[in-house]
Subunit: 337 residues, 2 copies
């Protein structure tokens, strides 16, 4: 197994320690639970945002903790949900009088544990609401759809609304707007290796790829001979446009994401082709992000996420976000000589 | 060959088009030469910075074009130097009355072509100087050392000095200070595949790794059974500290870099171990960057770069940099609702 690590057992703790060492001015780690919180004290009148899930999706979730996005992130073992007491500890830690919004990705373990923790907190008198992200169009039935890339936009947009002082009900409402208007489709040329398992999650021939993958190293919904970037772009965009019923003159926000080990050159080739396909269809790209935001360990794949936008969503997408995943040079944007 | 691309022939052009499509407010592409420039007009009294080299090292160099860093970047074919006329065109395009500093990585082809282009420009009356980066401690003889990660800090620091209005002589002097005080060491667990070649740059068994790699898919200087992250950190840091004669109470800036396909989890595990080793040696880490800055296509490896800092260098490291590689959310830091 080719990994830069010490032991499978210390994998998650070691990476969280590294992240917090790199961003000590933004993050702190609760070593009892592997929960990551904002370094600075919470504002009592701000709605707090908690999310999390299995590890192996970095920078999601801890890389999105900080001003403008999350207040707390729970890291489970690789591809394994955090426990109920762990999530409960996070909700209690970040809770304010304004309440807590829990952002859950639609996976059985996450939904069960995060909902149970939210119910516990509610019974203890903490104002708690939750939303469930189910954006992966590879799965036909909406209620079974996995929670993937759009989760980041829920963190971004609901996080900005919370920062602006909106109520728990309002923050939840804007999160639900993101979920209703956002979809994602993913593909990969390789499987990945879970550290504690030590072998690939599936077998794939040298000339094959998978379309319609999730984020846990699972196979896609269709196996094909390796397609060109342009063909993958067309396939992925079509899946999303059909589902969101998007067409000429609709305005969207676009994320083109590296699933773990797609080098920047290939990522920007793919982005170019996604843009060309959208242009040909007359869909207007208002703004976009291209980068490594949600991963499946070292998968050589990518994903496309599209959000139908309105003025409120645009405003919150452009709200500042002082989070590790948005600070490669690790300095506040106002830094100056 | 597992790559998300269209054809090997269009690989570089496609990725440059994607980059410029993603950052149209910062970049423009000269399609005749595959040169990338700042979108906005140059200030006549600012020293201009030009760099470039073979492609396959993204985000280097075009990802560092923008306010606070480069004015122009020349992209050659993968792992192949840009041509003399191409570099000459870039120097002419960005030249100002204050002059042009050309930043060259120490590789035979780059040195030959960039120097020849600089001489041509000089003869035409453009004030032109150059510096050569040779920071890779894997090579014992300093004059043969390859130019790698420290190149980014030359872009960053000389770019900030230029932005501040310093003269060509002063900007060159600070670039030379960076080169004199910066070193790098790299490793990999896998080779990579050049698109136009279609097979791995070398063979490596499932339990083996290479220490002391460059950035062109070449073998390292030593082959080993896969070491732990902590062992690699110790080996890499020792090489640099010995060479820079760094010890207790010396203050440094640190980059821990993903060589292409090291997932963020492994990158932060490795960063943690590098920090621990430096702490044990008493070397004081003033500030650090952790990310994907200079790559060898899809190599599963990493590198450590260390710069001995003084107040001038620190000031310029914290100078703003509005460049694609520093803007994952693709918005100016002053964006606000």
């Amino acid at each position: 197994m080719k990994k830069v690590m010490n032991t499978p057992e210390t994998y998650v703790r070691d990476e969280l320690e590294g992240l917090v060492l790199a961003y000590p001015h933004i993050l702190r780690l609760d070593p009892k639970w592997n929960n990551v919180y904002r370094k600075h004290k919470k504002a009592p009148d701000k709605v707090a945002l908690v999310s999390g899930g299995g590890s192996g999706h970095e920078p999601l979730h801890a890389g999105f903790v900080g001003y403008g996005m999350l207040d707390g992130a729970c890291a489970g073992h690789v591809f394994t949900s955090p426990t109920v007491p762990q999530v409960h500890a996070a909700i209690k830690e970040v809770a304010t009088e304004a309440g807590v919004l829990v952002v859950i990705k639609n996976y059985a373990g996450d939904v069960m544990n995060f909902k149970a923790a939210a119910e516990m907190a509610k019974k203890e008198g903490i104002k708690t609401e939750y939303v469930i992200v189910n954006d992966d169009v590879a799965v036909p039935e909406p209620e079974k759809r996995r929670g993937t890339d759009i989760t980041i936009l829920v963190h971004k947009i609901a996080g900005a609304a919370a920062e602006e002082g909106r109520s728990l009900e309002e923050v939840k409402k804007v999160a639900e707007k993101v979920i209703a208007n956002g979809r994602r489709f993913g593909f990969t040329l390789t499987p990945c290796i879970v550290p504690q398992v030590g072998k690939p999650t599936f077998e794939l021939a040298e000339d094959e790829m998978e379309l319609g993958i999730g984020i846990h190293g699972e196979k896609g919904v269709e196996r094909r001979k390796i397609m060109t970037s342009r063909e993958i772009a067309e396939y992925s965009v079509n899946k999303i446009l059909e589902d969101l019923k998007l067409g000429p003159n609709d305005e969207v926000f676009l994320i083109v994401n590296d699933q773990g080990s797609l080098p920047p050159s290939e990522l920007f080739i793919f982005y170019r082709d996604v843009r060309k396909v959208l242009e040909e269809k007359g869909v207007k790209v208002w703004h976009s992000w291209v980068g490594r935001f949600i991963t499946s360990l070292e998968m050589h794949g990518g994903s496309v996420a599209i959000l139908r936008v309105d003025e409120e969503l645009k405003r919150y997408i452009l709200f500042p976000a002082l989070v590790p995943a948005n600070l490669p040079f690790n300095m506040p944007p106002y830094a100056s000589v």
